[in-house]
């Protein structure tokens, strides 16, 4: 016997799901631009296929990043994903063994215990073929069932899973999750009931069958067994039908996304076809919610998981798009590694692209200043922190650097704030002017005091022949080259990683190395990749002053916990934000360096050496 009518709900559901997935994915991939499609074509036959497959295994089945987040959370996700995968894999092998290696219909391994019953085996009889399979299949089923118990438990005690807040479900999600949670208990019930009167089954289903047989009449067992197979098939079918519109769409999408990323397909500054894939790869696990500082300003509605939900609806909601500091903490923890910042900015592009900007007023002439090695750019914000500006000039003079202060008389914005608003064309027109000024200067090194400008010059400007450095990097270089003689002040200091310099540009090492030369660096609870945003970020376009202060105060609470002599940062915006919120003195790293500097004998700096 290889067919019964009860398999139809499952079978129809599966066919429906496969058709929908095929249509959706082919459409998205077809809409990827030409260079992207070429990358996919090339990638499919490249060595990239192996690391990509490894990542699919590690992330989609083992959930390595979830484990890093929280062990219980990791185990819960792994038991579902890996367990179900093994159940399918093992079930297929088992069914082939039973059917003698024939190709079976897809429902056959799923409902194998309905079609095949044979003699009883001992619960832990591992040395015979049927004993081995029954034990393994029951073991895997138990593994999945623990995941379900944990998932239920997470509903009441999410904090045990490292989560203060969990994601609110949409209605499709509720249907899907109910079916998903029923699938495995239904399988257990169906297999146990079958085992109760036909025998068979492993340590779990067999024992449960025996218990049921001892308390229920025989004819009742036979009829409920058949009904429960129907139930099992139905919940599978409904789950498959709801899947493409529920959070579980992330399962197939994440796999596709991982391969595409390995082939070099990237998200961009506008919403494209790859963004469509990325936004659906979100499992709504909610790990991003707790780390998001928008919670501190009572703006949970705009945390990444809800932002993506709004994005998938295709109706721009500026208030959701704009309420984000672009600090990057979410991207740091996202188990699926979705490019959340790119998506946020791309979504703002939809909101703002109709806004025209005019910059024709920018001066046509470009100052010419040959004979310098270093161009110093304080940045717009740098002009509001004159102590930083003054310290930098003092240091460069002391180190005998041939420099020019590019924006001594006021800056032209680097363009990053416009890019953060998704206004890429506007950004490019202000960038062009700065690019001309930089190239005309003849400088080999561009030093900036503002991490926002640094990230922009470094990543977007493509300044060939000009090395872009943040002042933390440049000052360390000067110190290491012996051009600065620094004293150890002995002061205890904490260091605040500015978002754009830390997570944004991965500059963690240089400021710390430099600081250790002049002070005693004390670690803080959240630092480097986990550093908190000061709240002043230009990334947000919506928060008011009070909400920013709430975020600032929460960050200050963490930073000032070790009660340091000084709070050091390396961003004018962070400095200004923190300055009014604490009694602890807030300084830029450059100020401390300038204070602890002995004036050395004038030495001519070798530009060649510095500009390597």
């Amino acid at each position: 016997m290889t067919f019964d009518i009860f398999v139809l709900p499952f079978f129809i559901g599966l066919l429906f799901l496969l058709t929908v997935l095929f249509v959706k994915f082919s459409r998205w991939i077809a809409l990827i631009d030409r260079s992207g499609r070429r990358k996919i074509g090339y990638g499919l036959f490249s060595m990239q296929i192996f690391p990509a497959t490894a990542e699919v295994f590690m992330e989609c089945l083992l959930h390595r990043r979830m484990w890093k987040q929280n062990k219980l959370l990791g185990f819960m996700h792994m038991s579902f994903a890996l367990g179900w995968f093994l159940l399918i894999l093992m079930g297929n092998i088992e069914s082939r063994v039973y059917s003698g290696g024939h190709i079976n219909p897809p429902y056959y391994p799923i409902f194998l215990k309905f079609f095949v019953h044979d003699k009883r085996v001992l619960p832990f009889e591992l040395n015979t073929m049927p004993g081995f399979f029954r034990f393994s299949m029951d073991f895997i089923l138990l593994f999945v069932l623990t995941g379900i118990v944990l998932a239920l438990f997470k509903r009441i005690r999410s904090r045990w899973f490292g989560m203060k807040r969990t994601t609110r479900q949409s209605s499709f999600d509720r249907w899907a999750i109910t079916c998903l949670w029923l699938i495995f208990p239904m399988r257990l019930l169906a297999e146990s009931l079958t085992a109760s009167h036909h025998g068979g089954g492993g340590f779990l289903t067999n024992s449960m069958g025996d218990v049921l047989a001892s308390i229920l009449p025989d004819n009742f067992l036979t009829s409920t067994a058949y009904i429960s197979w129907w139930g099992y098939s139905c919940v599978l079918g409904i789950f498959f039908i709801t899947l493409p519109w529920s959070r579980y769409m992330h399962i197939p999408t994440e796999v596709v996304m991982i391969y595409l990323k390995h082939f070099g397909v990237k998200s961009g500054k506008t919403i494209n076809s790859f963004s469509e894939i990325e936004m659906r790869a979100c499992p709504r696990c909610g790990v991003c919610i707790d780390v998001c500082q928008m919670n501190t300003a009572q703006k949970t509605f705009s945390t990444p998981v809800y932002f993506l939900r709004s994005l998938r609806k295709k109706v721009p909601v500026p208030i959701v798009d704009n309420n984000c500091l672009l600090c990057g903490r979410c991207q740091q923890v996202c188990p699926v590694q979705i490019d959340l910042l790119d998506l946020r900015v791309a979504s703002r592009n939809l909101d703002n692209k109709q806004i025209d900007k005019i910059y024709s007023y920018l001066p046509a002439d470009v100052p010419d200043s040959k004979g310098i090695n270093v161009l110093y750019f304080a940045g717009c914000m740098g002009h509001l922190t004159p102590s930083v500006k003054k310290a930098m000039l003092k240091i460069m003079q002391a180190a005998n650097v041939k420099y020019r202060f590019m924006d001594a008389d006021g800056s032209i914005c680097c363009g990053r704030p416009l890019m953060m608003a998704g206004m890429n064309n506007a950004a490019h027109s202000v960038m062009e002017k700065n690019r001309q000024i930089i190239h005309a200067s003849g400088a080999r090194i561009l030093v900036t005091s503002c991490p926002i400008c640094y990230k922009m010059f470094n990543e977007e400007y493509k300044l060939f022949g000009v090395e872009v450095l943040h002042h933390t990097q440049y000052l360390l270089r000067l110190a290491e080259a012996g051009s600065l003689w620094l004293n150890q002040s002995g002061l205890s200091v904490v260091y605040h990683d500015p978002c754009e310099l830390g997570r944004g540009s991965a500059v963690y090492k240089e400021p710390r190395k430099l600081l250790k030369r002049v002070a005693r660096l004390v670690p803080v609870a959240e630092e480097k990749e986990n550093a908190l945003c000061c709240g002043g970020s230009l990334g947000d376009f919506s928060m008011d002053h009070y909400q920013r202060e709430q975020i600032r105060d929460a960050a200050l609470e963490v930073l000032t916990r070790p009660n340091p002599d000084l709070l050091i940062t390396s961003c004018p915006l962070c400095k200004k934000t923190f300055h009014n919120g604490t009694d602890i003195n807030v300084k830029d790293i450059a100020e401390l360096v300038a204070e602890q500097m002995d004036l050395p004998e004038p030495v001519e700096i070798d530009a060649e050496e510095l500009a390597y």
Partner: protein, 341 residues
């Protein structure tokens, strides 16, 4: 038996209230954290609107002070606790007293101009505060020791740390506009050829003879008033301070180089007093000052019977208002002490 009142703070409000209460027959302890009486006025050269010496006002107040007032110097009060109808007042050095009533005449702190980094105080040599300028007037050596020359252009920035959300103070400090006018005139008298500019958001000349002083500044001294708030100051190679404002009445950005920039620091609530207020469970106001039960009819009373306040402890005030307020507090305390017999 006479009742005992602890007056915290021996600035002008504390002295005035102590004198009156003492004359009414109460026993008074006047507690001062510094080693001298008089508070901020000690550092103020001349007072608006009549330009009398700060010293002169203090002497007038000291004359009324009877020797029977017990004065405690160098006592920084750290806690005030109500205890069975009395108050236990404790200082940082362990000194303790019991009082039937407490008068908070704790005054104000000057806003720390370092907090407005973009104005360059503590960064540029030629940026000072209004309090620094008074000190210079008191020293009597003029501006030359600091500037190395006779000044040619001086600017006054109103509202530094006042009417400023970013500084955490939304309120107006009341006295800065008129003080700037007074200081501008003093400068002008010292250096008749100097050009003086006052940068303001709104000129609040609300008191008797304030407008006249403003008029005098314009008519007699040619002091210029520019309606625009300073965004940032920078330093040029000669050590001059370059200020940027918008001349809002002309609608154009304006850049001006000054030899000296004077920041009119506003009044802020002393942190220690705000903390004490919160510890006692008294009404909180965002600005940190003490809050009277009723701003019109019970301006010296708190929710705690026997706990009174006077002067700038309840927010920025002029000298005239502070003294009036201190006298009204003395009356309220007298009434309270008579009721509790």
């Amino acid at each position: 038996m006479s009742k005992h009142v602890a007056v915290v703070g021996a600035g002008i409000a504390g002295i005035e209230a102590a004198s009156i209460l003492n004359a009414m027959g109460h026993s008074i302890t006047l507690i001062e954290k510094n080693e001298i009486l008089g508070g901020h006025i000690n550092h103020w050269h001349q007072l608006f609107p009549n330009r009398r010496q700060g010293r002169d006002l203090l002497e007038k107040l000291y004359e009324k002070m009877d020797d029977s007032i017990q004065v405690q110097y160098g006592k920084e009060i750290t806690s005030i606790k109500p205890f069975s109808g009395k108050f236990i007042v404790t200082a940082a050095d362990g000194w303790v007293t019991n009082a039937d009533a407490v008068l908070m005449a704790t005054g104000f702190d000057l806003f720390d101009a370092h907090k407005k980094e973009e104005y360059g105080y503590g960064i540029y040599d030629h940026v000072i505060t209004s309090a620094d300028l008074e000190e210079i007037f008191i020293q009597g050596e003029g501006l030359n020791p600091r500037l190395g020359k006779d000044p040619q252009r001086i600017g006054f920035i109103h509202c530094v740390g006042s009417r400023d959300e970013k500084a955490g103070n939304i309120y107006c400090s009341k006295v800065c506009c008129i003080t700037a006018v007074k200081q501008a005139i003093e400068i002008k008298e010292l250096y008749p050829s100097v050009e003086v500019y006052c940068f303001y958001m709104d000129l609040r000349m609300f008191g008797r003879h304030y407008e006249e002083l403003y008029q005098e500044a314009q008519e007699k001294h040619n002091i210029q008033f520019i309606r625009g708030r300073l965004s940032e100051a920078s330093e040029n190679k000669q050590g001059g301070v370059v200020v940027k404002v918008e001349d809002t009445l002309l609608g154009k950005p304006l850049k001006l180089t000054l030899d000296l920039l004077v920041l009119m620091s506003g009044m802020v609530a002393p942190v220690a007093v705000t903390n004490m207020r919160d510890k006692l469970g008294l009404a909180k106001v965002d600005d940190g000052f003490l809050k009277p039960v009723d701003p019109h009819t019970q301006a010296n009373l708190s929710e705690l019977p026997g706990f009174f306040m006077a002067g700038t402890a309840t927010g920025p005030k002029t000298i005239t208002d502070t003294l009036t307020d201190a006298r009204s507090a003395a009356l309220e305390i007298d009434r309270f002490l008579k009721e509790i017999i």
